[in-house]
């Protein structure tokens, strides 16, 4: 709770440092009177400390203010767009997991070989490639040149493919490296050696015994990445004209929609905290040694 209050104060202050939204809404030949009228209509004519008190008071009641641009409750605008992001994020995560786990496992099992080096290269490329560039290249190849997939927006299942790949690409990189490291660590464990001595097949050793133990750090990252994707898919959503909360954040910043920006950041913080809590609970199932009082 204290964290959220501090965050609210920081966001409130930072949003106002960048300028006044009225200046972006007025035409260039607007008079001082026009500006004063607009400030009054938007509630921005009040002193800053009064605006802060109104904001904090409203936040305690769950009212995070009215969006200056959309003229409706900021919370409503956020939740209108959230489902659009939530339909994309699991696909990106699923794709990343499906790619990263086999790649990481192979890199660990065939350590030092060409396969290991290829997996490493994929990891480096994935982290180094800007998602903006990747998205545009994917559009050029798969939409314009090949004509296989639509170039942007929400719609049929085909519309999800390119944004999910773009969003998940950097996840593949990080997860592959992590899976490799975790599996390498577990491969040297005593219980793995015992399993092999007992004649358990290599596939079972790897996919049942090693993977489960190697997944704990991956699950940690999984939770963090999920929260990051939900809260920060700004570039991907902008490139693909995806009407999610990432693009909404960008628009709120550009248009200096203070109430909306404050609401987005606070609600995203709640999502991050919630996901981290869920991850902590999941530990107990994955690792029997972890028990909570």
């Amino acid at each position: 709770m204290l964290l959220l209050v501090i965050l609210a104060l920081i966001v409130f202050a930072l949003a106002r440092v960048t300028g006044n939204p009225a200046d972006l809404l007025l035409r260039e030949d607007a008079t001082q009177e026009d500006r004063a009228h607009l400030l009054k209509a938007l509630g921005l004519d009040r002193p800053t400390h009064e605006q802060l008190l109104v904001f904090l008071g409203g936040a305690l009641r769950g009212d995070l203010g009215q969006s200056i641009r959309y003229r409706k409750p900021a919370v409503e605008v956020f939740f209108e767009r959230l489902p659009n992001t939530l339909t994309l994020v699991p696909l990106a995560l699923f794709g990343a997991v499906v790619m990263a786990i086999p790649l990481g496992m192979s890199a660990a099992v065939y350590r030092g070989t060409l396969l290991d080096r290829a997996a490493n290269a994929v990891a480096v490329l994935g982290i180094a490639t800007p998602s903006f560039w990747l998205g545009i290249v994917l559009i050029y190849v798969f939409s314009i040149t090949l004509g296989w997939l639509p170039s942007a927006r929400m719609g049929s299942p085909a519309h999800y493919v390119l944004p999910a790949i773009t969003l998940g690409a950097f996840l593949v990189a990080g997860m592959t490296r992590l899976v490799r490291s975790s599996v390498l660590e577990v491969l040297d464990s005593e219980f793995v050696k015992l399993a092999r001595l007992k004649g358990v097949s290599e596939v079972t050793v790897l996919w049942k015994h090693c993977l489960r133990n190697a997944m704990i750090p991956v699950v940690t990252l999984f939770g963090v990445f999920f929260a990051l994707l939900v809260t920060g898919a700004i570039v991907t959503e902008t490139v693909f004209a995806w009407p999610g909360v990432g693009r909404l954040t960008y628009e709120a910043v550009i248009f200096r929609d203070y109430p909306l920006l404050q609401a987005i950041i606070l609600l995203k913080a709640v999502i991050v905290l919630g996901v981290n809590l869920a991850v902590d609970i999941l530990y107990a199932y994955l690792d029997p040694r972890v028990r909570y009082a």
Partner: protein, 546 residues
């Protein structure tokens, strides 16, 4: 083990490929006109709830305006009112509405709706950009009969009717009184109706707005497509890709994307006279600017002569710009001698670096001087930054040491209001929008009470400022058309020869068009947005592109 893993990976890759191939793009709908835009503003279906130009994209299909456009030349023309008259004393205007107009629910459009609409646009709740201007202008509104409405103004306003046209701003939008009173504001915004050629279907926040064509004749034109969809696609390369693949029919683009659009087989439609990129000097009358080289008119003229405008048109704007007229004037402007000013601009705004250096030397600045230049771009015209960089480069070539501060518009605009701290003696990029009358722009920029007051303010109004105030008053107070034209020419002359605010290029609205999705059409000069054009866009087979 190794072969099993390899097989698994190969199978996964094949599956992904097959899934990708099978998920082809859906078949294109030939009956839907799709326009991809970089902004839909507030995307609120209520004319009083949005402030800037996006309304001209997404409100215009649905709602008519009291005064319309001259579709050929640009500027104003008949709208919901087929004609209007100014009273002899200049203090009232009578608008005669077309008969037989109706809203989408069948209710007739009457003078009561016009009165209601104007009053609603002026109401305290309205954040329409011209609401305050309307309140200043209108004294009262009288319904004479079902098809006649009279507006009484506070004082003589020679071009009051123009302010009720989308050629100027949005304040003339005609809304349905009975329907609004029945459903209330919330109901109106959720299911809006108007009298325009397109009916509202759906508004998906952050994504699109859908309309369907009416099935009866309309004075704006009968839509040739059954449906219209406006898509919000912020990224330019994505908009271009969508037009190229046929997912959109038309997309707004900037000059830097023209080459790519043409290479992709798209047609380019340009709308002349939508804006001017200008540079201007701030606070030269203030004590802080005393001693600045910019206070010498020869220096100011030199800075204009140093700019090769044709190069900017050719290389920054990819030839999609025009030689400018004087500040805030266009070839479709009224109340001025366009031919005279066109000729003046060709000579006065020429590129003559030798003369520029000579003037600098005469003014005692042969070695140049330091100049702070705020390079900024107003919303919708990001190419102003590249123009500003080119201008700075030209100034450097004649010895000016330019200290360029590229500043985001939201940060720069507040600096220009009030006391304009930190701006005295500096230059900045700026913009004028395409409007048929110059005078409203001049009050903002050059009069002592204007927001920008480049010549002086009420507390400090030297000779140039007093002349500017008088010149403006002479224009707005003149009821005789010929005398007002002469007064406007004098006002333009005074500003042009001061070299305080100087046009660089006249910009155009630029659109990429898929010729297989929409036929050849004509935009409205001076009007970047297509909200009033969509109903006249033909199908590709009706009017193919050459």
């Amino acid at each position: 083990m190794r072969s099993r893993l390899t097989l698994t990976l190969a199978g996964l890759a094949t599956l992904i490929l097959l899934v990708g191939v099978s998920l082809r793009a859906t078949a294109q709908d030939k009956d839907t006109l799709i326009i991809a835009l970089d902004t839909l503003g507030a995307q609120v279906m209520d004319p009083i709830a949005d402030t800037r130009a996006p309304h001209a994209h997404y409100h215009a299909p649905l709602w008519d305006s009291l005064v319309g456009f001259d579709l050929e030349k640009g500027g104003i023309g008949p709208g919901v009112a087929e004609r209007w008259e100014r009273a002899a004393d200049g203090r009232s205007w009578t608008f005669y509405l077309r008969k037989g107009q109706r809203f989408h629910n069948g209710d007739p459009v009457t003078a009561q709706d016009v009165k209601f609409s104007l009053e609603r646009t002026m109401s305290p709740e309205s954040i329409a950009s011209g609401a305050a201007a309307l309140r200043r202008a209108i004294d009262r509104i009288e319904v004479v009969d079902d098809h006649t409405v009279r507006v009484y103004t506070k004082g003589v306003i020679p071009h009051f009717a123009a302010s009720l046209s989308r050629a100027v701003f949005m304040e003339g939008t005609v809304m349905p009184k009975k329907y609004f009173e029945k459903v209330g504001e919330k109901g109106f915004r959720e299911k809006p109706i108007g009298s325009g050629p397109w009916k509202f279907v759906r508004n998906v926040p952050g994504d699109r707005i859908e309309y369907e064509a009416i099935d009866y004749p309309h004075w704006r034109g009968m839509p040739q497509f059954k449906r219209l969809t406006l898509l919000l696609v912020p990224e330019q390369s994505t908009r271009l890709a969508m037009v190229r693949t046929g997912e959109a029919s038309i997309a707004s683009i900037g000059p830097e994307a023209i080459k790519e659009a043409r290479a992709g087989g798209m047609r380019i439609v340009t709308v002349p006279g939508t804006m001017q990129a200008v540079y201007q000097f701030w606070g030269l009358y203030k004590p802080e600017a005393k001693g600045s080289p910019l206070t010498d008119i020869r220096v100011r003229e030199a800075l204009s002569l140093a700019i090769d405008r044709q190069q900017i048109i050719d290389h920054v704007m990819a030839k999609h710009a025009q030689w400018p007229m004087p500040f805030a004037t266009f070839r479709y402007s009224i109340d001025m001698d366009s031919a005279r000013w066109d000729d003046w601009a060709k000579t006065a705004l020429r590129y003559d670096p030798a003369r520029a250096k000579q003037l600098l030397a005469e003014a005692g600045h042969a070695g140049g001087f330091r100049l702070t230049f705020f390079n900024t771009a107003l919303p919708g015209t990001p190419f102003m930054i590249q123009i500003g960089e080119a201008v700075a480069g030209f100034w450097e070539k004649i010895g000016i040491k330019v200290d360029m501060k590229t500043t985001e518009w939201g940060a720069f605009d507040p600096m220009t209001r009030g006391e304009q701290k930190g701006l005295a003696g500096t230059a900045s990029m700026y913009r004028t929008a395409g409007r048929p009358e110059p005078a409203p722009r001049y009050i903002t920029t050059f009069t002592s009470k204007g927001t920008q007051h480049l010549f002086g303010d009420p507390q400090d109004c030297p000779a140039l400022c007093q002349e500017g105030d008088k010149a403006y008053e002479a224009v707005v107070g003149e009821r005789d058309d010929a005398k007002r034209t002469a007064a406007t020419n004098r006002m333009i002359d005074q500003v042009a020869k001061s070299w305080v605010a100087v046009p660089i290029i006249e910009g155009m609205g630029i659109w990429a068009v898929n010729p297989k999705r929409v036929g050849q059409f004509k935009p409205i000069p001076g009007r970047h947005e297509f909200g009033d054009v969509a109903e006249r866009m033909p199908r590709p087979e009706q009017r193919p592109w050459p």
